[in-house]
């Protein structure tokens, strides 16, 4: 069985994000990047599937699409235990939307015979959650989103996935090949291991650029993309809090009045 885990390199969740003065994007200076936490679940699930099912003879590949710095996401995946890593590396991949990226990835993996793809439910940078479903669509594969548990069929040709929906749990059976996006709760990702990290630092990654995949500059230009980031702006500063003063009973009355009449919250 061949398993692919998609990985994305994103700003750390606690990073202080600054917008570039011209509004064209975020300023990466001084921001620490990490493997997207939901991609960690994807990598972990891929490795666990391999470890727990020796009969499946699984091989795990991690893939990322983005500029050179994104290789770090692959090194982390290798240090967690993936067997191979593919970097779709081109500056032209930096500005493309999810659908275009899905097309790029689909072409890169078309001939590689993957049976299952694990992706994160969402990347915590732009929170779009589009890439997984878009890639499934490009490959014409079934897709199960935000999966919290997986049971493998005995022959590894199918699986049962569970996902939380409003007030219930949905159980989905899928035949492979299939793409699953991983939700928090599916597993707890392991820490990378130092010996593997050191090996990963030395291991050459398989790197493919736009030309190698047969994409022209026009196909990757903003006008070719279905969606386009308009402008980045920091959220407006929060208005300062308001202090109420008085006796507790009087304060409570005041507060209710404000919530009802001014804020219209109750």
């Amino acid at each position: 069985m061949k398993i692919l885990a998609l990985t994305k390199y994103v700003p750390e969740s606690t990073a202080v994000i600054k917008v570039k003065p011209d509004g064209s994007g975020i300023d990466p200076a001084g921001v620490k990047f990490v493997l997207n936490p939901f991609c960690e679940f994807a990598v972990e699930e891929a490795i666990r599937t391999k470890e727990k099912n020796p009969a499946a003879k699984a091989e795990v590949t991690a893939l990322t699409c983005g500029p050179a710095a994104c290789a770090e996401a692959l090194r982390t995946a290798l240090a967690m235990g993936t067997d191979h890593a593919i970097h779709l590396c081109d500056n032209a991949f930096a500005g493309i939307d999810e659908l275009t990226m899905a097309r790029v990835i689909a072409r890169a993996i078309a001939q590689r015979g993957f049976d299952v793809i694990f992706a994160g439910k969402v990347a915590i940078d732009y929170d779009s959650g589009q890439l997984g479903p878009a890639l499934a669509e490009c490959l014409d594969w079934p897709h199960v989103g935000a999966v919290t548990a997986i049971e493998w069929g005995a022959d590894f040709k199918s699986l049962t996935a569970r996902r939380r929906i409003e007030g219930a749990e949905e159980v989905v059976e899928v035949k492979l090949p299939a793409l699953l996006t991983c939700e928090k709760g599916l597993n707890e990702a392991r820490y990378p291991s130092l010996p593997k990290l050191m090996k990963a630092k030395k291991a050459p990654l398989e790197t493919l650029d736009a030309a190698a995949l047969g994409f022209s500059a026009a196909e990757l230009s903003p006008t070719a993309c279905a969606t386009r980031m308009g402008e980045f702006a920091p959220p407006p500063p929060r208005p300062p809090g308001r202090m109420l003063e008085g006796e507790p009973a009087e304060l409570a009355k005041q507060l209710v009045k404000i919530l009802r009449e001014e804020e219209k919250l109750i």
Partner: protein, 388 residues
């Protein structure tokens, strides 16, 4: 230009390689996610958080600077950064790692036979075998040359008698690297748990390193085969070279304790309002904070250059002494001052400075007391004449 980062005022991290930064980040995350949430409780209840061991082992921290034997083969700066991050959690966690790495795996690697290395190191890297290091005795740790524990050759075996005191990991250890006097001088032995005549007992009522196991070891006609002797260790230089390794880790560890205290303290003085202004806007508090940052910055630069010397094979043992003395004193002073600036809240384990402060009272004593390190440096300045 932006204001410098108070925790790394001179951007010493900028001097690390990508690998070194990656290793540090990995351990930072482990400490934040796994150690910090449980450590205050563990300290309060005098409990070593054993549950952290499997992850520490899976991450490959044990034996990380050994090449081969399923170990990562990291450089010494990486090893230092790991110590620094673990001690930011607690000196007890760093002590566990120091003992396993520097005091147990190092001597087996350096002084052991190939058979001993194969037998023990891979399992020690996986924490399937935990080690302890028995050098100090009840009658005085600073002068190990006068140890009373002795080993007598009987046929092909050695019979060990004596006692060791203040031994980290003692009762949880599967093997004790035991130093004993023989007719030919000091020798090192691997004593396995369960060997008749070998017992260990915990030392209770500690007010320091409470999240670490400290024990006494007893050897009563304890018989070990000659194959358990470390063949390449001859004389006191053997155990002393192990101490040099462990002291090196402490040099970095103390920085971790100090930054944890600075962090807690900075947050407090900025939000505490007294006399109508934040505490942090008073002259005395700013001087004290500046002094902490000055000393942490010095310590960082010292540790890094020491690491570079060690990686280049140019580190003299007195280099380590100067840095252990400087950095642990720095850590202890910073922790005490942070404790004070927190006011009454600073006396509870809810805030980390008192925990680090109490821990560092051990750290300044073990692996050579502060005085001994001053005298080691002094000896280098005065014709090699030892004044201890």
């Amino acid at each position: 230009m932006e204001s410098p980062n108070p925790f790394d005022f001179y951007d010493v991290r900028g001097l690390f390689s990508d690998d070194e930064r990656a290793v540090q980040d990995m351990v930072t995350r482990f400490v934040d996610e796994q150690a910090l949430p449980i450590i205050a409780d563990a300290f309060e209840h005098d409990r070593f958080p054993k549950e952290l061991i499997p992850t520490i082992a899976e991450m490959g921290l044990l034996g990380c600077n050994i090449e081969g034997y399923d170990c990562a083969g990291l450089n010494n700066v990486c090893y230092g950064l790991i110590c620094q991050e673990l001690e930011r959690g607690d000196s007890g966690i760093r002590s566990f790692m120091s003992v396993q790495n520097s005091l147990c795996m190092f001597p087996i690697h350096r002084y052991g036979s190939e058979e001993q290395r194969q037998r023990w190191l891979p399992r020690m890297a996986k924490a399937q075998v935990i080690g302890c290091f028995g050098l100090t005795e009840p009658d005085g740790g600073s002068d190990p040359g006068t140890m009373k524990t002795h080993a007598k050759k009987q046929g092909g075996d050695w019979v060990i008698n004596g006692a060791k005191m203040w031994i980290t990991n003692g009762t949880i250890a599967d093997i004790a690297i035991t130093w004993a006097m023989t007719d030919e001088g000091v020798r090192g032995f691997i004593v396995e748990k369960g060997t008749p005549g070998y017992t260990a007992r915990d030392i209770k009522r500690k007010f320091s390193l409470r999240a670490s196991v400290t024990s006494e070891l007893f050897f009563d006609n304890c018989r070990v085969p000659d194959s358990n002797r470390l063949p390449e260790a001859h004389g006191l230089a053997g155990p002393l070279s192990c101490l040099t390794q462990a002291r090196y880790g402490i040099v970095w560890g103390a920085i971790g304790s100090a930054t944890a205290c600075l962090d807690e303290c900075l947050r407090f003085v900025k939000q505490r309002t007294l006399f109508g202004r934040p505490l942090s806007h008073t002259q005395t508090i700013q001087r004290r904070l500046a002094n902490m940052v000055r000393r942490i910055t010095n310590a960082r630069l010292l540790a890094l250059q020491l690491g570079r010397l060690k990686d280049a094979g140019r580190m003299h043992h007195s280099h380590v002494s100067l840095a252990k003395w400087n950095n642990v004193r720095m850590g202890l002073d910073v922790a005490r001052d942070a404790r004070d600036m927190l006011g009454a809240g600073g006396i509870t384990v809810e805030q980390c400075p008192i925990r680090h402060m109490l821990n560092l009272e051990s750290v300044i004593t073990y692996e050579g007391t502060e005085t001994i390190h001053e005298l080691i440096v002094g000896r280098e300045l005065c014709d090699g004449v030892a004044a201890f």
